[in-house]
Amino acid sequence: MESQPVRWSIEDLRARKPEALTAMVNDHLPTLLAGALAVGLSRADAEEVVQETFVAFLSGLDRFEGRSTLRTYLFGILYHKASNLRAKARREEGSDDIEAVVSARFDPAGMWARPPGGPEALALDSEIRGWVEKCSEGLPDAQKAAFFLKEIEGETPEAICNVLGVSATNLRVMLHRARLKLRECLELNWEKSR
């Protein structure tokens, strides 16, 4: 028989009730771990950042006003910790020239001058998954986080803007560029494999 989910409140967490702490970790740890891995952390770093996220949340519990869901609030803490960790090792990200790359694919009338190539039915799903996963590693952290929250977690644009500290317009541009980069990278990998 499946066990009933434990109901808990922020007040229970303030009182450090063990069953509330356990339920919170059970409810949110898998998503946070997936998010930390998605923004490009190693498994060891991801686990460290997830632990630090819970610790930081509990130590600053009074700052949580419930304006966002607990999940997005926790993801906000996680994202900033992950970004700080990666900033130490990350090389400067060059200028984002994906728009120019894509623009060159169209003629002045807006029709395809260099149509999209790349995998279709002939490529194996596992092969495409491998390429996409590899390509996603090349995205900036903010784009990966935006993509994760939008496509995987199904968060609203408002919540994502809140977590990442960007405007709605910036978010649209980030997601647009992330998808374009992934597609261009997918085509490149497909061409190399032929």
């Binding site: 970790v25 997936a34 997830v50 395809w112 496509e151 597609r183």
Partner: protein, 84 residues
């Protein structure tokens, strides 16, 4: 039909929609025109299918991790957060 063609989005505009908020973010009349374009343009249709495959692939790659190591990690975190 001629009137419809006059308002038909070009490939660049269709690709921009597919990379942006998708068809759902467009008003119904625009969705209709884009669907019509996709039914006639093999390149835009391919572009759209690739966008779908990218999302599906990332959903699989970024799925929540499961297994005994995740359960063990949960126990370590709960231990750390619990009362001293």
């Amino acid at each position: 039909m001629k009137l419809m063609m006059a308002f038909m989005p070009n490939c660049r505009e269709v690709a921009k929609t597919l990379c942006g908020g998708g068809l759902a973010s467009e008003p119904w009349h625009r969705r209709l025109l884009i669907r019509l374009h996709l039914s006639r343009c093999v390149f835009c249709a391919r572009f759209g299918r690739q966008m779908d495959r990218i999302c599906e692939s990332l959903k699989a790659a970024w799925a929540e991790p499961k297994g005994e190591d995740v359960e063990a990690f949960k126990r370590r975190v709960i231990e750390r957060l619990g009362p001293p």
